[in-house]
């Protein structure tokens, strides 16, 4: 197991390098000039060239990539071209905000999805099943930025129950776990939860339905186990497959939703990436994508380990 863990961690290194390189090249290939993030649009050529030299953007691409990489291995993601702030500081704050939003959305989506999926499987073919499947289909089909706007119109503008944007009355810098702050989280978290909720509902429904037809369930019934006892066995058997899907979903949520974070002005990684993309802010783009990729890899590893712990039949060697 330990060898497996070490090997997986070592695998993450080339993945991180490849992500960094691909991201670097994509931004270079894309039309536009990173210098636009620094100087006013109408800056004279002479000033533009001077600033390009000042920031090292005149160096050959392999050299620029090498400089960036050598800093990254020392834990320095560089400075934003647009703001001049250290990327790490902005990223830490953004990841914290996205993590909060992602966990809240995952909590809602996973719990609701599991409940709806189980109900649908147990009452297969009934109106409850159809309702749950309908919810799941709507969850994955409705554009969540549109849903976000509708919820703002309903709950913020019309009913004035919840705030329309932001991450707390004083911004995310002064977050506290009280209702005054949590209410800022409700609308973006619910909006973001609908896709994982739909996917988890469908997954749980499929897995539980399959398990309910297995011989061991018939045996359990034959042995006189009640519905609760059978459910316990089914859930335990369903957990590895459902966990794998949940892990992936949490990874997607952690990547931040550019659209939902923009609609709610939620200062997470999606909001950060959105601004960096439009400004061609190369260090922010590279740093953010690299960290998110590593996070994704780590999350998958964690899911694999949890799956093994839950089901010893799954061997990792």
């Amino acid at each position: 197991m330990l060898l497996y863990l070490i090997r997986r961690i070592l695998y993450a290194i080339p993945i991180a390098l490849a992500v960094g390189l691909v991201c670097f090249m994509l931004v270079q290939i894309a039309p536009g000039d990173p210098i636009n993030a620094i100087v006013p649009a109408d800056a004279p050529q002479e000033v533009v060239e001077q600033v390009r030299r000042d920031y090292g953007l005149d160096k050959p691409l392999p050299v620029q990539f090498g400089i960036w990489l050598s800093r990254v291995v020392q834990g320095d993601l560089g400075r934003s071209l647009a703001t001049g702030r250290p990327v790490t500081a902005d990223l830490v704050s953004a990841i914290g905000n996205t993590l909060m939003l992602a966990l809240a959305a995952a909590g809602i989506g996973f719990v609701m999805g599991s409940i709806l999926g189980t109900i649908a499987a147990v009452f297969r073919g009934s109106w409850l099943d159809k309702l749950a499947v309908g919810f799941a289909a709507a969850g994955v089909s409705i554009p969540h930025y549109w849903l976000g706007m509708v919820m703002v119109v309903l709950f913020s503008v019309t009913l004035n129950w919840l705030p329309a944007m932001g991450a707390g009355p004083g911004g995310s810098g002064s977050w506290a776990w009280d209702w005054e702050h949590i209410k800022y989280l409700v609308l973006p978290a619910v909006t973001l939860s609908v896709i994982p909720m739909g996917i988890i509902t469908r997954t749980v429904r499929g897995v539980v339905m399959e398990l309910l037809n297995q011989d061991f369930v018939t045996t359990l019934r034959g042995k006189g186990l009640r519905r609760g006892g059978i459910a316990l066995h089914v859930v335990k058997n369903a957990a590895p497959s459902v966990l794998a899907v949940m892990g992936l979903q949490l990874g997607y949520l952690m990547g931040g939703s550019i659209l939902v974070e923009t609609v709610f002005s939620w200062p997470g990684t999606g909001f950060l990436l959105n601004s960096a993309i439009f400004q061609r802010d190369l260090p922010v783009l590279q740093g953010t994508i690299l960290v998110l990729a590593i996070f994704f890899v780590a999350l998958n590893l964690a899911v694999d380990l949890i799956q093994t712990a839950l089901d010893p039949r799954i061997r990792r060697a």
Binding site: D42, D54, S93, N160, T262
Partner: protein, 537 residues
Amino acid sequence: MNLSRRALLGATGLATLPSGLIISEAQAQTAERVLRYGISMADIPLTAGQPDRGAGAYQFTGYTIYDPLVAWEMDVADRPGKLVPGLATSWEADPADRKRWTLKLREGVKFHDGSALDADAVIWNFEKVMNNQAPHFDQRQAAQVRPRLPSLASWKKLDAMTVELTTKAVDSLFPYQLLWFLVSSPAQYEKLGRSWDRFASEPSGTGPFRLARLVPRERAELVKNTAYWNPDRMPKVDRVVLVCAPDAVTRSNALLSGQVDLIETPALDMVPQLKAAGNRVVENVTPHVWNYHLSMLEGSPWRDLRLRQAANLAINRDDIVALLGGLAKPATGVVDPASPWFGNPSFKVRYDPDEARKLVQAAGFSPRNPMKTRFLIATGGSGQMLSMPMNEFIQQAWKEIGIEVEFQPVELEVLYTAWRNGAAHESMRGITANNVAYVTSDPLYALVRFFHSNQVAPVGVNWSHARDAETDKLIDQAVQSFDVAEQDRLMARVHERVVDQALLVFVVHDTNPHVLGRNVRNYTQAQHWFQDLTTLA
């Protein structure tokens, strides 16, 4: 045991009407008047001295925390402002050598940290952005302001309260460049361990507001500087909270739900709803023009004056203004007729499709045999308004008179790069116009940079490679003239030539709409991108 004031008053029988009045008065004296402003930027502009994010950012972290040496009159809405004394009480070019400018500094001005403004501080600020060998040189601020000071050659202290600035050539318009140069505190920089990062969090300028709190990418809280030197610009509110809300719908919803008190640039289709909720829309003439800048290079169809004029005459600007929810003004030149540089062009920019059709026919084209060309346009972005719908509307109008334009839409950042490269750049092959919307706030920005032959791209942003000896002569005369009225007269003649030659297709001017909530009692919107938040009440 803690007792509230109300409980104490109640217990002692003082919570009666007269006492209630006393409480209200006391509360009124202590209550802080706060306004929350939803701004369209994704981040708070740089707070260390020279704001980034363009002219529109100066109202947020420029003219609030800092002052310029030469300022713009921002408290008038019914006419264009003018240059007024800022931290310099006077600025004069030496009659013996017009390249040397003497600036007398204002006595008794203190930075927020309590240190005094003097010539040393001003020279330190020039070194900060112009001399990359200076120990306190700040690359980030330099990148913002160096492009705004193209004429500046050198700077020196003459005495404790006088500085001398020298320009590269005689340039009477140089004081306009100083509007962009803001002065920050050397003492605060020293106190914070010579760190611009720390300075950005705890800045010190001489402006009417102090920065009380900064949450990057989210908000900045500005509090009234009660020791401000200029009583005319003393803030009417105690605190202004700038809240980043880059999405127009989000911003408008935030105002509707009472989360902010005013916003800039509402979502156009939400304006009726905002008005119906009791909010007030404020707009004014703004130095901006949404236009097409036509290539004048050999081979461009736009070298034919008839086609340039026809392109201008075919556009129904009133319909475009309606498309923009009424929040724009038809453009009849680079600047608005209210500008002192408008003049009296003989070619009247208007909607006259019949005349446009005749001109196109005279040039040898018709709807059946259209002139075909390609433009580089922005998909959207700051200043570009409703880019795609406007472009498509105009494309249709031109098609009807025999001009068939194919658009190549790109992101605004890409368009900026192409714009700086100029029409002759190899990437512009087949492109005969670009669609960057222009800031036109002073003679340099409105006219000189686009139409003088010494500004041909990539040196400047004369994208089209327009070369006109008479225009050059008039601009050269204007920059040599130190009589403001004469400068204005000459720039008006330049503008007349530009309009008469239809060097651009003029479409609309932005009116920079703001929506004020019911609790905002006053806001004076100047005819400029620079605005004064001290007028908020």
